[in-house]
């Protein structure tokens, strides 16, 4: 059983919650500040828990995948390497995205991060299953949205993640009317179609 909770989980989760709890700009106008504080902590805790559980289950899913046969003469060693790779990838992803919600000026919230992480996990599964081209995205925050960008062979995709939405802009030339297209990529089919276009 692989656990993503090793190493970062408890420590990271606590530090994240503390960070939110201690955030100096977050003043309270509530008449019951203690109640508000504990609700806030529970709220954030539950989202972080969801996020980590989700990544954990994905790692397990990949680990248990029956089609993933090994041709290595050292299958256990190879499997360990794969698990470590995936684990470190997801750790890196979470750690790179979480700080966006803690900038004092940022309005990126954890729901947005959860949405983006879920999306990219689906994409990584599609990429892995089909052996598509892959590159890490450039990640930025824009107002309340997370922005991921990829470039490949004269083509580009920009993804905008809000709390509930995942919008794309495809770019293959300078003309906004005829060489750019925007839309929504939320289902697996939409995500795969988008990535097929970029990777081809």
């Amino acid at each position: 059983m692989v656990s993503l909770l090793e190493g970062i989980t408890l420590e990271r989760r606590n530090s994240v919650v503390n960070e939110i709890y201690e955030r100096p700009n977050e003043s309270s106008s509530c008449i019951c500040p203690n109640f508000e504080e504990s609700s806030k902590i529970s709220f954030h805790r539950s989202y972080l828990h969801q996020l980590l559980e989700r990544t954990n289950s994905v790692v397990n899913e990949i680990y248990e995948r029956p089609n993933e046969s090994s041709s290595s003469i050292y299958p256990d060693f190879e499997r360990t390497l794969k698990i470590n790779f995936r684990r470190s990838y997801l750790h890196k992803l979470l750690e790179s995205l979480l700080p966006f919600s803690f900038q004092s000026s940022s309005t990126i919230n954890l729901n947005t991060i959860l949405n983006a992480v879920n999306w990219i996990i689906e994409l990584r599964k599609i990429v892995g299953l089909n052996s598509y081209w892959w590159s890490e995205p450039l990640v930025n925050a824009s107002d309340s949205e997370l922005v991921f960008e990829w470039w490949h062979g004269g083509k580009k995709i920009t993804m905008y993640f809000s709390e509930t939405n995942a919008e794309f802009i495809k770019v293959w030339g300078a003309d906004i009317d005829s060489e750019m297209e925007d839309g929504i990529a939320k289902t697996n089919e939409q995500i795969e179609s988008l990535w097929q276009w970029l990777a081809s």
């Binding site: 700080p99 966006f100 900038q103 000026s105 940022s106 590159s135 450039l138 990640v139 930025n140 925050a141 824009s142 107002d143 922005v147 960008e149 470039w151 490949h152 580009k156 920009t158 905008y160 802009i169 770019v171 030339g173 300078a174 003309d175 906004i176 009317d177 005829s178 750019m180 925007d182």
Partner: protein, 156 residues
């Protein structure tokens, strides 16, 4: 004396911060090319600032806020030729096209300052997203005036 019109053939500089105030980067190395992100043209008033090269002695370091920053460039005419920024109604029918122009907006401490502005003002952020893509695409067609610091280090 600051000219009150930006000529079509003027070179415009845009600073690409290293890193930005929120700790992220607005460029990426992909293959052998450093791409400027569309987010390099982000602006709270949807009017990205540029510096007019003619008013800063064609010296792109003038536009850097820090020595680590990169600087990209655009030709004014290529910005004015952008005619595909379209406002559509809820059924997708074209209502009108935004006119994109470059206006001199000199500041007390920066007489070379200009802005890329739409007429009329954008009705929503989504319209500005596509303009940013276009501006980044145009900038990426040109060489960087100054590469971000980490790539300068790699080259030297």
């Amino acid at each position: 004396m600051v000219e009150d019109f930006v000529a079509d053939d003027e070179l415009l500089y845009r600073c690409v911060f290293y890193p930005t105030s929120d700790g992220s980067k607005n460029y990426k190395l992909e293959g052998s090319q450093v791409f400027a992100s569309s987010q390099a043209f982000r602006d709270t008033s949807s009017s990205p600032s540029v510096d007019r090269a003619v008013l800063c002695s064609y010296n792109p370091t003038y536009t850097q806020k820090n020595v680590e920053d990169g600087v990209i460039s655009l030709i004014c005419q290529s910005v004015r030729l952008i005619d595909g920024v379209v406002q559509r109604d809820s059924k997708g029918n074209e209502e009108f096209k935004y006119k994109i122009d470059v206006f001199p907006r000199p500041l007390l401490d920066n007489e070379a300052h200009a802005q890329i502005e739409p007429t009329p003002a954008y009705r929503n952020e989504k319209i500005f997203r596509k303009l940013r893509e276009r501006l980044a695409f145009l900038a990426n067609q040109r060489s960087w005036e100054i590469l971000p610091w980490e790539f300068r280090q790699n080259i030297s």
